[in-house]
Structure formats: C-alpha cells, structure tokens
Point group: C2
Chain length 236, copies 2
C-alpha cells in the first residue's frame, strides 16, 4: 500500500487526501509536522514540505502539484459508483486542454492566492501555536483584519463561481473544488466563515462535505481547540 | 498569433518565455506591471497575476502552472534543430510518471521555496521600487541577510543537482531548469550570485544561458539600474 505523509491542518495535504479518496486509492497515512524538520520527512522530501506520496514501487512524489498531476494519470476506481449523482469515474482533471487550464488556474488561486491572503495567516495565528505547544503569541490585529477582509472577497468569488457552474471549474468535480475545500475546511473548523452571507458557496460546500471522501477531514482535531459548531454538520 | 502577457522581472513569466522559445512557439508579448491592477490584466486573469497566455482561438491560460502543462501537450517545433547538441524535440516534461514527478517537485521548489526565501524579497527590495518610481525605501537589513543566507543554500542545491545530473531534473532539459533560470537570471542581473563559489551551478547556467531561448531575457533592463557585469556574458 502507498503512504501519504501529510499534516492534518495543511490545506494542500487535505486537498490530496480528498483526491485519493475520490480516486478510490487506499493509502496508509503518516503524519508529520513540517516545522519540526524531521529527518524522516527531509529524507523523503528535501524541501521538508508535505504532502508526500510514497508508492509501493518506491516512487516518491513530493508536493500537491506533482501528486495531483500524478494521480490524474494513475489508474482509479470510483468510490461513489453506487451514488446516482456520481456514476462516472472521477477524473478530477478534464480531458480538454481549455478545461484543464481552468482547473489549474483555480488550483493556483486557492493554493497560492487564498493561502497567502487568508489561510496561511489565520492558521499561523490560531492553529500552529496549539500544535507547537508554544505560548499563543497575540496575533497582530492588522494581519487578522486583512485576512478577514480578504476572506470575504474570496468567498464572494467562490459564491460567484458556484452560481455560474455546477462545480467550481465547470460541469464536473475537479481538483479546483478539492483545492478550495482544503482551505475552506480549515477556515470552517475555526468558525471563520459566515455562511449566511455566501449562500451559493454554502450550497457548493454542503454538496462537497456530504461526499464520502470528506469523512477523514471531519475527524481531524486541533489540540485544545474544538471545531466550530458547523464543522461536522452536513446540513449547516 | 498568441500573446503572452508578462512582466520582464517576474521569474515565472521568464520561465514561460523560455518554455515558449524552447518549444518553438512564436508569440506576441504584452507587458503588464501586476501591481497596477490594470483593467486589461484583470479582464484576462481575475487574479491580476502574470504570466497569461492568450491563444488565437480565444483560449486564455492563466499562470505558470497552467501554461507549462498546456504547452507540454501543445504541438511543438524544435527551435534548435540545427544545433547538434539538441536534435530531439524538447518535451520539457518527460513521458515517464516518476520523471514527471521529479520535474514538478523542482518546479515547485524554485517557484515557491526559492521565490519565498530569496527572489521575492530581493526583487521587492531592489527592482520593484525602480519600476514603480517610488522612493527607494531602505530594505530591512534582516530580510536581506536572511535572503542572502538562503540564496547560498539554494545555489548549493543547484550545484549538487548539476553535479549529479545532466540537467537539474535528469538527462533532459525540462521545466525544472527553466523555472530555476527564471529566478536565477533575475538574481544574476542584480549581481547577487558569487558564481566562483558554485562551480557546477555555473557550468549548468552557462549552458542554459548560451541557448537561443535565453536571448530575450538578456535584453531586459530595470530602469535606472544596469545589469551586473556578467548578466549578458555567456562565458562569465
């Protein structure tokens, strides 16, 4: 069996956990906390970053970019084949080059723009200190204010996309949805999202959260901080 | 003809300019300064970021990730077919999944790790103020010290890879080399690189810089700052 080395509150790791589940690929999980620079992680990935997928045949695939593209061409089964809404195998990346470009544009949007402008500063302020067991340094109010303003803009964009399309990048569930969910699920754990203000995004997220692939994420916990009241609710 | 919207000192734009030239794809260039939030750029790419490739058929491909993957499957000609060292068409992405993963791991390394730890802070300090025409705020010495220490580590890694392999990700020139060159060429312009300390990296960069694809980059100039003495030298 392959092994995914990940960190439970790393949004990119979460996106890859969802992708593995959607592709019906069973893996063992190894958790690493990237800031500890563990020799085991550095031996796998000299960048010291997660996620890392180790295949049984010895191939090591480092980073969400390489793993997503690798899984897109790996054989898949369909974990939700019994679900009438999802009878086709889940490709996560469409076949047509223009549609692929749209998926990848949005993956970049979430993994880099949303991350830099919202998720990274909020996780840095509210989650990492609890894992590190360090004194909870008071986060800078200006950084938090900027992250909250940016979050409203990003949720507005997700709402707009959800209103125009069946899934964020088009007709089919794709890596764009999973990348977004990696981040939004962390923010939802923290209770940062005022869902009532973003109705189409809420409908999109409810559909996604109800999928079997999401169950692992909903079981994750930050030490010393309970999830928001809605985190595990499928109908929130 | 297709159009590439780019910024001359954006490392990711540079990597894509190299890729287009290596694939033998002629494009028109449009330059944008992403910090100006120009309506034309936002209409093309709502993220307001470069590079963006507009195909003649109307397809718009946003971001270095989507463009590189798009070009990897687009038809290519070989611009250096007459050069005995480069007789095969340049795929930039190998066919084998493990080798692809290695290319993508390194692309991430350069576009995100090297960018965050070195290129972005040094461009922010020494290049962007000259384009913006703003007062050259004194860069924070601690930020510069950290970027310089990180740069030595990254060049050590490039040297190590160059010593082990023909090109950074393996036998063939790939997106890994072009991503590295996008950043290293900006740093070389600024005279930040002490090439004598990194002999294998220097040999690798000399080979790359001598390719026809590099000529466009060597003509770029920062207003009010001449390039380092070695920037345009092929034998430095």
């Amino acid at each position: 069996m392959s092994t995914l080395t990940h960190f439970s509150f790393c949004p990119r790791s979460r996106a890859i956990r969802l992708a593995l589940a959607e592709r019906g690929i069973d893996v063992a999980f190894a958790e690493e906390r990237p800031w500890t620079w563990s020799p085991a992680l550095l031996a796998l990935n000299p960048a010291g970053e997660v996620p890392v997928l180790q295949q049984e045949d010895g191939i090591v695939v480092c980073g969400a970019y390489a793993i997503a593209e690798y899984l897109a061409i790996a054989p898949a089964t369909d974990p939700e084949a019994g679900d009438p809404d999802h009878r086709k195998p889940l490709a996560l990346l469409p076949g047509n080059p223009a549609a692929q470009a749209e998926v990848r544009r949005l993956v970049d949007w979430f993994h880099f723009k949303l991350d830099r402008e919202v998720t990274a500063p909020l996780l840095e302020a509210h989650v990492l200190p609890l894992f590190k067991g360090t004194a909870h340094a008071a986060p800078e109010p200006e950084v938090l204010r900027a992250a909250h303003a940016n979050l409203a803009y990003h949720l507005g964009y997700v709402s707009w996309l959800s209103d125009q399309r069946n899934w964020l990048a088009g007709d089919a569930l794709s890596y764009a949805d999973l990348a977004a969910a990696g981040h939004i699920s962390c923010l939802d754990y923290l209770g940062e999202i005022d869902w009532a203000r973003f109705a189409p995004a809420k409908v999109w997220y409810q559909r996604l959260k109800s999928r079997r692939s999401f169950q692992g994420l909903l079981a994750d916990r930050v030490p010393g901080r309970l999830p928001s009241a809605v985190y595990t609710e499928l109908d929130f």
